[in-house]
Symmetry: C2
Subunit: 149 residues, 2 copies
């Protein structure tokens, strides 16, 4: 599965989140041998859980299938991960993190922090931003426009 195809699945999750009244962010985890092992979408409202971001849910699901570590895996997220989600990716030993649009307000991949690639932490992820970023951003823009209407 290439980056565009994996991100298409994350975008599907983001659309589903919007349909549930949640901020439309989606994520999937693909193992080193190309298997889809985790998926998640933002569920902070429905679950009254501020940690229920798409990336955390996808990581938790994937890690449960791999004994807790995601060595060799790639996390795809429609939005640049926040500090919590970037920290979770590092703890899970994710090999690579790919995101759609940047988050200038809270992004921890490159916008506010470079948590995913900090040489002081005990693991670093390779990072790629901007994959299908326009589609990811359009979902967020439409969602917040509707909220304010």
């Amino acid at each position: 599965m290439d980056d565009e195809a994996a991100m298409a699945l994350a975008l599907d999750e983001a659309r589903a989140a919007a349909g549930e009244g949640e901020v439309p962010v989606g994520a999937v985890v693909v193992s080193g041998d190309g298997e889809l092992i985790g998926r998640g979408r933002n569920r902070t409202v429905a679950s009254a859980d501020p940690t229920a971001h798409a990336e955390v849910l996808a990581i938790r699901q994937a890690a449960a299938t791999r004994g807790g570590r995601l060595v060799g895996a790639t996390l795809y997220a429609t939005l640049e991960p926040c500090p919590m989600c970037a920290g979770a990716a590092v703890l899970a030993r994710v090999a690579r993190v790919v995101w759609g649009c940047d988050d200038p307000k809270a992004g921890a991949g490159r916008s506010l922090y470079t948590l995913l690639s900090d040489p002081r932490l005990n693991h670093r992820c390779r990072v790629t931003g901007g994959v299908r970023g326009d589609e990811a951003a359009a979902l967020l823009t439409a969602f917040f426009r509707k909220l304010r209407a």
Copy 2:
């Protein structure tokens, strides 16, 4: 409940984690009116979940009792929170974070990052480090010494 008393409960959780073969870190959440509304201990091994840090588990439990936000609450953790846990505290709108010993390798309260008090993020927590820090550090030292023995 004062800081010392709340930290005693977090230390109890840390000791229980050690007894379960988990890195001994514990956490509790106390609401603005002094009620204990969340507790957690590190469970990353038992649950094969890299996000199952004491602080995240305590925050999730507490948030479920408060509709998802912890306005006015204090998070007590025996160890300085890592980036994931600090990010979770900010997302949960925790008013104050108190920890025991500093974590020079991954601390996001003041050691590597000041995530809890970053003016660029949409919420800031007041922070106090070093409450019963010697006891928290002694638990970690004993645990890792035993692992290496």
